[in-house]
Amino acid sequence: MGRMKFLCDAERCIECNGCVTACKNENEVPWGVNRRRVVTMNDGVPGERSISVACMHCSDAPCMAVCPTNCFYKTEEGVVLHDKDLCIGCGYCFFACPFGAPQFPNGPAAFGDRGKMDKCTFCAGGPEETGSKAEYEKYGSNRIAEGKLPACAEMCSTKALLAGDSSTVSDIFRDRVLRRGKGLEAWGWMTAYGSGDQQREQKREREGQK
């Protein structure tokens, strides 16, 4: 299996915000905290396009790199998670993230203790016992451990937002692109996967390691 990835197909995203409320519903994220949001460009004029953005679970995640308490970790499936017990809410990750994924809740509600960072977990919970109350309160649902995918993508109204093993996601997307007879237009692809050059370089690295 490859890594877990999100991909938003801008040709299909209609900015319905289903992903946003699916996330709120599944993880009971409080008002003001948006693990996922939909961004629209060229609003109201021809060329208008929307994409749904959350943590992209970067291969080389800037948040991990800058965290002063090293509270981030990456699972074997490529999901970037963090330990809220260590987070000091400094906001470096927010500064470093190219997608604005880290959120900083305010107030005493869940997720909110001392403004600890909260972000999309790919519905994979966090470092507490799988499926426990503690895990749910701190990190939200752990669908991945149930063999399910993130609620946002599973409920996307037009199946624009795809999630899962990157090879499966790219198979689905490739199928569509072929039918459309148009080029690669997935927003965020370059950032998440890198350009062809970078990919080839990574491949060489991997093969060199073997």
Partner: protein, 75 residues
């Protein structure tokens, strides 16, 4: 680099002394640069649903992902 080691020292100090009076749990144990410092997390297949069977979990997730591909049901 300098500023960074300063931070880690501060965090250590704060964790062990500064906040103990407030009844706060120390947050940082041993700091190791560049390495995850938090609690260990279980693998997604290490639970009663999958009983440690990674292949079964992978199959489940793959099947689930196919739901996003409406061409599987519509030609």
């Amino acid at each position: 680099m300098k500023a960074k080691s300063l931070i880690s020292v501060l965090v250590l100090v704060a964790g062990s002394i500064g906040l103990s009076a407030c009844g706060e749990v120390p947050q940082v144990t041993t700091y190791e640069q560049g390495k995850y410092q938090g609690k260990a997390d279980a693998q997604p297949w290490d639970n009663p649903t999958f009983k440690g069977d990674k292949a079964a979990w992978e199959k489940a997730v793959k099947n689930r992902a196919r739901n996003q591909h409406e061409y599987n049901r519509i030609q």
